[in-house]
């Protein structure tokens, strides 16, 4: 992954300088990283250089952000044990656990005894 600050737009001719905003810690595939409070999960991941959010069910192809407004579902990941979460419209929270999703993913805490 690239460095966090590399992909943040800190200075912008119209938006001005980015305000210092509180950071939260999120865990992405077993690695802790910082995100800006309230930003969508997808934005936090892209800022860190992560582009692959999931792999498709049948062909195992990588997918990332496509529409960024919650419509296309390309950016779904498993967030806090819940699969298929649209990360582009889900704000980060302190301690959030985010997993790159393979296929339909897995529910956290569900394992079957048999059959």
């Amino acid at each position: 992954m690239r460095k966090d600050k590399e992909l943040r737009v800190n200075e912008h001719p119209i938006l001005g300088s980015a305000e210092e905003r509180p950071r939260v810690k999120i865990k992405v595939d077993d690695q802790w990283m910082e995100a800006i409070e309230g930003e969508p999960v997808a934005a936090a991941l892209m800022a860190s250089g992560k582009m692959v959010f999931r792999y498709t069910t049948r062909l195992n192809e990588p997918r990332g952000v496509f529409c960024a407004i919650g419509r296309c579902t390309d950016c779904m990941m498993t967030v806090d044990g819940i699969p298929n979460v649209r990360t582009c419209i889900t704000p980060v929270r302190e301690g959030m656990v985010i997993l790159t999703q393979r296929g339909e993913g897995r529910w956290e805490g569900i394992s079957f005894e048999k059959g």
Binding site: E11, H12, P13, I14
Partner: protein, 163 residues
């Protein structure tokens, strides 16, 4: 027509516009050059001019008409233009050099006195000019107006800068 192929206005296209001053007026000193060639619905340039030198009228899709004798090159119309199509050209800035004022919305802003690359309509660096003015009043709403010096023969070529 090359404008609709690559976005670059040719001199012929430019000269045909009613909002580009004639040579005679240009030589008298600072005046605006409005590079607005299409019937788009837009007229903020009209109220921006305190002298009434820019007329769009109705419908607002009219191409603006410059009353070149009323224009004193004050540049108040540069920042309000949503298409960033208005420039001020002052052929009498210096003995050999002209000044071009242009809208600028990138970071960082140049400092006064800074040397910058002067770019033509194709984005090619054609000269190294000096920034002589950087205007950023709040009324311009974050569109800076930069004035850069260029040789007189490039006054109708240079339309952007790169730091």
């Amino acid at each position: 027509m090359t404008l609709l192929k690559d976005g670059v206005l040719t001199n012929e296209e430019l000269e045909a516009l009613p909002c580009v001053p004639g040579r005679e007026r240009m030589e008298k000193g600072a005046v605006v050059v409005i590079e607005c060639p299409q019937d788009i619905p837009c007229n903020p340039c009209e109220p921006a001019c305190p002298k009434g030198a820019i007329v769009v009228g109705g419908p607002i899709t009219n191409i603006p008409v410059l009353k070149e004798d009323l224009c004193d090159g004050c540049g108040l119309c540069v920042a309000p233009c949503p298409g960033q199509a208005i420039f001020v050209v002052d052929l009498n800035h210096g003995n050999d050099e002209a000044a071009v004022s242009l809208p600028y919305e990138f970071q960082p802003l140049p400092d006064k006195g800074q040397k910058v690359k002067a770019l033509n309509r194709r984005g090619e660096a054609v000269h190294e000019g000096t920034v002589v003015k950087v205007l950023t009043p709040s009324s311009f709403d974050r569109t800076a107006v930069i004035t850069v010096t260029v040789p007189k023969e490039l006054a109708m070529e240079v339309r952007s800068i790169r730091l």
